[in-house]
């Protein structure tokens, strides 16, 4: 069998990933691009006698970009470790896509083009002359639509029989022509001398392609040209050529505006309704998550509890000093995390993905740019915050959408103020025990309102800390904000839900499970190893108690948060373990019984309030901290991300205790 590799290149929002998903179906994995610390999505397709490995490159507007993602894609294309480059264009906006295609044609040995979203182009009466496009670009061009599997078969046929590309003669500005003229003699042996010359204009990476003896001379001249030719000038040449091609091949018959989209945009960004609608949406998402996650959560608990004695019996050949920690420590913590975390996540992530795929998130960034700008960041930070509501680690990775390092750091340091799915359940139980009467018919609505309020408070804290950090860390450096607002697009509901569950929810769950098991073992040992009269656990809580009381909490609560570092889900179970001086985590029968235990340990409404505050403002979980370390590549920022929210949380608790009547 022959193995070949194809890479998918396309601008953001052209449905590149949907196309990729259709082709590779289940056969996908994210992996490291050899030698680089970038995760790319890989998949395989069996196409007749060829097994294709396909790589989904990050969306990029052009190969002449500044953003991290654009650089990744550009260097992948330049390194040519693929057989065919698949360029995915948005049929409703071809002109921009042509500019990218023109650049790829100069480098990639073989190219296949997909005119994706072709059905939508037809809907808005665009007349695209595909035959003429074939003549112009001299590569296979296929009309596709990921939505209804249109053109997929034809695409696969062409993928197996691509033609060698012929670069299109893009006319450059006189300055650039002069530069190319100068470089050509040094790049005689090159396959694509023009592409190499253009790359050399901005990077030294391909200097080795020039003979050693000529390098000094070239370097000298290059520094002059580099100063003289701006990237924007180069890009403009491609764009002008793309415009010429578009004029010949794309004709718009009539322009009928989409009234629903226009109405939605007006409503969502209106002076009066914009912000309230967004808060309402936040509330709805929380409410749906709350009402639908309780029951499956208790099912999961029952299932795992039912299995526990069976597992115990199954492993009974082990000596008890191994058996008890494994089952009562590791297994229990593991299933606790899964039962608490899985249901809300399985509801929240798909809901969020649907809103995301519909195109709502850029509008949020648009609405909120002004307040974020005042704090030294930009509207895109709100998107990373939305992701943080699902999982803070995802939010931290999500900061890649921001262009400047400064804004990324600001968003990373403050992301923890968005309570993730792992913290929701604890907060909700606290709210329903101490602040909302459970006998009330509308208790789920009131709880959701309360939680929405907490999140709004988290948003306020985010603004506050962003501003402080911007002032002290970055001296109010200027920020750039250019945001595309793509057209609304009805998502494919089932596919979106499936991928949200499979790619996001499962991924987060697995990461949590990995840390939950060892954490369970540790807690078990702390609760069972005696030093003197008491267990290590009780010594630790005694130690923390004076400080805890000072800020309206107690030693147990502080210890639970500390031991909950691996996963926030286990904070309440650890608390119960300490209060009952038990030896293993235990489930509470009902919220009433939990409340009784807490009241017996002198909990008041203030304690519950401070618990909520601390839950919102404390160090990110271990997974998130590791992600922060990875993304910032800085130990200092990771430490800062640990201490800043914690200190704020402790101060707030102290203040509420001071002023509480």
């Amino acid at each position: 069998m022959i193995k070949k590799r194809a890479c998918f290149i396309g601008q953001p929002n052209v449905g590149k990933s949907s196309l990729f998903n259709i082709l590779t179906k289940m056969h996908q994995h994210t992996g490291n691009w050899t030698g680089k610390t970038v995760d790319l999505t890989y998949g395989t397709v069996q196409n007749e006698d060829i097994l294709w490995e396909v790589v989904d490159l990050p969306g990029t507007y052009s190969l002449i970009g500044e953003s991290e993602e654009e650089k990744i894609t550009a260097s992948y294309v330049y390194e040519k470790q693929y057989d065919v480059a698949v360029v995915v264009l948005d049929a409703t906006n071809l002109e921009r896509g042509f500019a990218l295609l023109l650049q790829v044609l100069e480098i990639a040995p073989q190219v296949v083009v997909c005119l994706n979203l072709y059905d939508e182009a037809k809907k808005i009466d665009l007349d695209i002359d595909i035959a003429r496009l074939n003549e112009i670009f001299q590569v296979p061009i296929i009309a596709t639509s990921a939505k209804n599997n249109m053109g997929i078969k034809e695409f696969l046929e062409h993928l197996n029989h691509p033609k060698k590309t012929v670069p299109y003669p893009v006319s450059m500005t006189p300055k650039i022509e002069k530069y190319l003229e100068f470089m050509m003699p040094y790049l005689k042996k090159e396959e694509n001398p023009k592409a190499t010359a253009i790359n050399l204009l901005y990077e030294d990476k391909y200097m080795e392609k020039i003979k050693k003896s000529d390098q000094d001379k070239v370097k000298h001249q290059l520094s002059f040209f580099r100063h003289y030719i701006k990237k924007s000038e180069l890009l403009e040449s491609y764009l002008l050529e793309a415009k010429k091609i578009s004029l010949q091949t794309v004709h718009r018959q009539s322009q009928k505006p989409n009234q629903w989209n226009e109405f939605l945009d007006q409503a969502l960004t209106n002076k009066w309704s914009g912000i309230p609608i967004m808060i309402l949406l936040l509330f709805l998402v929380l409410w749906i998550t709350i009402i639908f996650s309780n029951i499956p959560s208790s099912w999961l608990f029952s299932l795992f509890q039912y299995l526990e004695p069976k597992l115990y019996a199954l492993l009974s050949f082990l000596p008890s000093f191994l058996l008890d920690p494994l089952v009562l420590g590791g297994y229990r913590t593991l299933y606790w995390v899964v039962s608490v975390m899985l249901p809300p996540m399985a509801i929240f992530f798909p809901l969020f993905s649907l809103l995301e795929d519909y195109g709502l998130l850029p509008r949020i960034a648009f609405n909120l740019d002004r307040p974020f700008k005042k704090c030294g960041s930009c509207g895109k930070q709100s998107l990373t915050m939305c992701m943080g509501l699902g999982c803070n680690a995802v939010g931290v990775t999500g900061t890649r959408i921001m262009e400047s390092k400064k804004m990324r750091i600001l968003s990373i340091l403050t992301n923890v103020f968005m309570p993730c799915n792992g913290r929701f359940p604890a907060m909700i139980s606290m709210i329903s025990m101490f602040f909302v009467l459970s006998t009330n018919r509308f208790s789920s609505i009131i709880s959701s309102l309360f939680l929405t309020g907490i999140i709004l408070f988290g948003i306020a804290l985010t603004f506050f800390l962003t501003k402080i950090c911007n002032h002290f860390l970055f001296k109010n450096e200027k920020t750039v904000f250019v945001l595309e607002l793509p057209a609304y697009r009805a998502p494919k509901v089932f596919k979106t839900i499936y991928h949200a569950l499979k790619d996001k929810a499962l991924d987060v769950l697995l990461r949590a499970m990995k840390v939950a098991f060892p954490a369970g073992l540790l807690i078990f040992f702390l609760a069972n190893i005696q030093i003197g009269q008491a267990t290590i656990l009780s010594w630790l809580q005694e130690l923390l108690n004076p400080f805890g009381l000072l800020i309206g909490l107690d030693g147990v609560i502080l210890l639970s948060f500390l031991l909950g570092l691996p996963a926030n889900e286990i904070v309440i179970p650890i608390m119960l373990l300490c209060y009952n001086s038990g030896s293993a985590l235990m489930e509470y029968e009902s919220l009433e019984s939990l409340k009784l235990i807490l009241l017996n340990h002198h909990w008041t409404t203030l304690t519950a309030l401070n618990f909520l505050i601390l839950c919102l403002c404390h160090f990110p979980c271990a997974t998130t901290l590791l992600t922060i370390k990875e993304e910032t590549k800085s130990r200092a920022y990771t430490i800062l991300a640990f201490f800043l929210p914690t200190i704020i949380g402790l101060i707030l608790c102290f203040l509420t205790t001071l002023i509480w009547p």
Binding site: K271, R370, L483
Partner: protein
Amino acid sequence: MNQNLFDLKLGETATIVQIHLEEQTKLRLLHLGVFEGEKIKCVMTGPFQDPRAYLVKGTMFAIRNIDALQIEVIKND
């Protein structure tokens, strides 16, 4: 500089004459198809009147007013 993008009222159209922004922002705008000679329309002003959203050849995008001031345009009637 005569007129700039910020002078456009909601719903008004203009033609871009020159973009006087620094390289990074200019590149981002070029990527969206925003360059000299294109028609541009102001389509949304947002809850805080800043940033505002514009439409160029079917692409909607938002920039801040401080940057819009640096884009020279001629209003179309």
